[in-house]
Symmetry: C2
């Protein structure tokens, strides 16, 4: 450890200021104090990007147990020292974001906010949409101190907590937390609650399509039109109720809900409806993102240059978070905030993962093995129509329905006993979620084993 503080510049020094400017292009930096050099930091002494060495009595909002870089912990500082990213990011953080997350940013998005899991990613994306809708989207409604105060006193009911809503779809899955419970027991900082509405939100029907999509184009188009009409009705109805829809959230493929697909046309029209009514459009790629559909993001299949205002991710991306357009940058620090705000050690892995994906052309591989898998599923459902139906998929993100839930569960178990691990979703679907190194021959390996199971059944 060092033996005393040692200061070279005022804090933040020129290097921290420059890094703050750089990071400010990527995300809100309202809460950043200065940047740190964790490699040089030791024990009680935090060294900043300008070489200032400070005795640290704050320790990442009290989250460092035994000082920085404790010798008997590992040498890789990214793993040992988990910073409070919102206030004291490591100095290579902008660079790491650029080489990892931003290198795969969706079309039209230049900013990204890291988070720790899919749930907090979506929740904070909702907050960002509310803030945008209320403060940034509408210049006449800046939160005055009266509003701020009212949040604390009337708890989610006064003018500081606008009646806003998010439109979602039946069968959608956007996180398991119930946090408003947490929020309801949190009374210490007015800023955490401002612009967060109470709950009375519209839910639209998601199209129930027939598969394969190419064979039922007309029927499916009718079903999609019905759902889109309902979406517009709900937006109007909620506006009349005084709870306007600030954002629409949708998955490119409803995953937990049973692998429900919709046409590219459906999503493009939905995006246009959002634009027309002044709602933010939030695409939840927590499960579909990261290459599994054969494109890095499932929404790339839609072929539009302006797919969304917010795209959230987690899972395969190793870190949670969301990309967002410039307009959705919150106006103040601490409005989108928690202790860790993600985990930079995950970015190290993500960079390497992205390198491998590029070097080994894994997206092409996924497209190829996904085709083999889906083709095989088509053949099996033709061969065993009493057991299987509705094979569907994009890349290796495939699913097929069993006759009923009992058959589905049995097929999964029997296939597992022969050495292939499958998952269920929806009421009677089997879902396929291999990783990106799943090759054509793995698909055939599975199809052979599955064929045996079906033949014996």
């Amino acid at each position: 450890e060092y033996d005393a503080p040692s200061m070279k510049t005022p804090v933040p020094g020129p290097k921290s200021k420059e890094l703050t400017r750089q990071l400010g292009d990527i995300q809100n930096v309202g809460a950043v104090n200065f940047f740190c050099n964790y490699e040089e930091s030791r024990g009680n002494y935090l060294v900043d990007a300008d070489g200032n060495r400070m005795l640290d009595l704050y320790t990442q909002i009290s989250s460092v147990p035994i000082g920085v870089s404790f010798p008997s912990l590992f040498s890789q500082t990214a793993f040992v020292n988990r910073p409070a990213l919102g206030i004291l990011p490591p100095e290579n953080f902008p660079e790491k974001l650029i080489e990892s997350l931003l290198s795969v940013a969706p079309a039209g998005m230049t900013r990204v906010q890291t988070m720790a899991c899919g749930s907090c990613s979506n929740e904070n994306a909702f907050k960002a949409m509310f803030i945008w809708y209320k403060v940034i989207g509408n210049p006449h409604s800046h939160p005055g101190s009266t509003n701020m105060h009212s949040v604390l006193t009337v708890l989610l009911k006064g003018p500081g907590c606008p009646d806003l809503s998010i439109l979602s779809f039946m069968g959608g899955f956007h996180g398991r937390t119930m946090g408003k419970c947490c929020l309801a027991t949190t009374h210490s900082k007015v800023i955490h609650k401002l612009d967060i509405p109470s709950f009375d939100w519209p839910i639209a029907p998601f199209p129930k399509l027939q598969y394969p999509l190419e064979q039922f184009v007309r029927e499916n188009a009718q079903e999609e039109a019905r759902c889109l009409e309902e979406v517009e009705d709900l937006i109007v109805k909620w506006r009349q109720k005084g709870k306007p829809v600030a954002g629409i959230i949708v998955e490119p493929i409803q995953a937990e809900g049973g692998d429900n697909h919709a046409s590219h046309d459906f999503f493009i029209k939905l995006r246009n409806i959002a634009r027309k009514h002044g709602c933010a459009f939030h695409v939840d790629e927590v499960q579909t993102g990261g290459g599994t559909t054969g494109k890095f993001w499932a929404h790339e299949h839609w072929g539009t240059g302006d797919p969304a205002d917010i795209v959230s991710f987690s899972k395969k991306m190793l870190t949670g978070g969301y990309y967002f357009k410039d307009e959705l940058q919150p106006d103040k620090g601490y409005r989108i905030f928690n202790t860790w705000m993600g985990d930079p050690s995950k970015n190290v892995f993500l960079s390497e993962v992205l390198n491998v994906i590029r070097r080994e052309n894994l997206l092409e591989e996924v497209t190829r093995s996904g085709k083999a898998l889906l083709q095989g599923l088509y053949e099996l459902q033709a061969q065993y129509p009493h057991l299987l139906s509705r094979a569907r998929g994009l890349g290796t993100f495939c699913a097929i329905d069993a006759r009923d839930d009992v058959t589905r569960d049995n097929l999964i178990l029997k296939t597992r006993d022969k050495g292939v691990l499958l998952g269920g979703c929806g009421e009677m679907s089997i879902r396929f979620r291999p990783s990106l190194v799943f090759k054509e021959y793995h698909a055939h390996q599975f199809l052979n084993i599955f064929n045996d199971v079906l033949a014996e059944y």
Copy 2:
């Protein structure tokens, strides 16, 4: 990578079954499929604890990007492979839990559930209390399929979503997520919403004490009695309203709210009130836990053998989560669930951190340096009464108030420019949150510098 599946036993095999039994003593295992040997797993092949090698088309609910143990990722598999702990835990997981988290379990608690952050820890603890109150605490109210269905159709309003509440305190802080938003947009699985109430919860006043506590014993006891009376009134009122209080949540020291202390007597009486009214008692140690008060948990200072039913943690513990009594074990898998359920790589660090704490007697050190710090703060506030007041603390978890918020912010900045990093909390408090390797001489180092700042002010 391997070239084919290879099966030795049915799945789960005997070893997985035995491990499931072991883990079942620690937490709910209703969702666990089998245990994995991640060291032996490669690419598309997952090897289980019984040596069965399976082609993996599920990949931790789709969260593994480029297969298991990709060679160019690091060799430490705990860091490279983040499992979906709720369904496919690594085989050393029970052992790791026992040697890390359970080795410091609070009195009376033998179970622990890991989570990724403080917010999801508290949220899931709330869920556990609701489930306990509704299903386990009351044998007459098992969730039938009608109830299950009603959750989905009436969305948080029918009998499946009981009107329950959690009592919390003004100034309390238990998480920043707003998740009910997430929940409100989640319609795919009925089990996620069952027993989760809508929001109308009682908030009690937290005692506003005078410091030092020893000098104002009588005045403080009166104030505490007033608050406890209010707590009982609220419990009765909410029961009459038909929204009984399932649990009470409290921090041993209100941290974000401004470092508000209460006497041991207050907490013991509060715990008794909870017991008397059949409410679960949830102590939130997210900020106070991990040794910073001189005991591993702040509630140990109360000196009672039955401090709580649930204790949540995060921050210094490196992983989030909560300890709980046997009775609060949920009745079904997937009721408390998300993809990752924490991160076992954090347990590796935690074990090492606990070793260091024991080996180097860090709790005694904290007590010693905390005394020096608080004594120094008392002296400074006597010397600069126009600037400082209300010094208070337990271990190194100390705080002092400045004259006003502007002075507070200025003092923090000026002290930082001289090389000491401090944090603010509440309206005009400075809080001290050093890590556990903060020694007496670090306290003196800070006090000297702070003295200079105050003298110049």
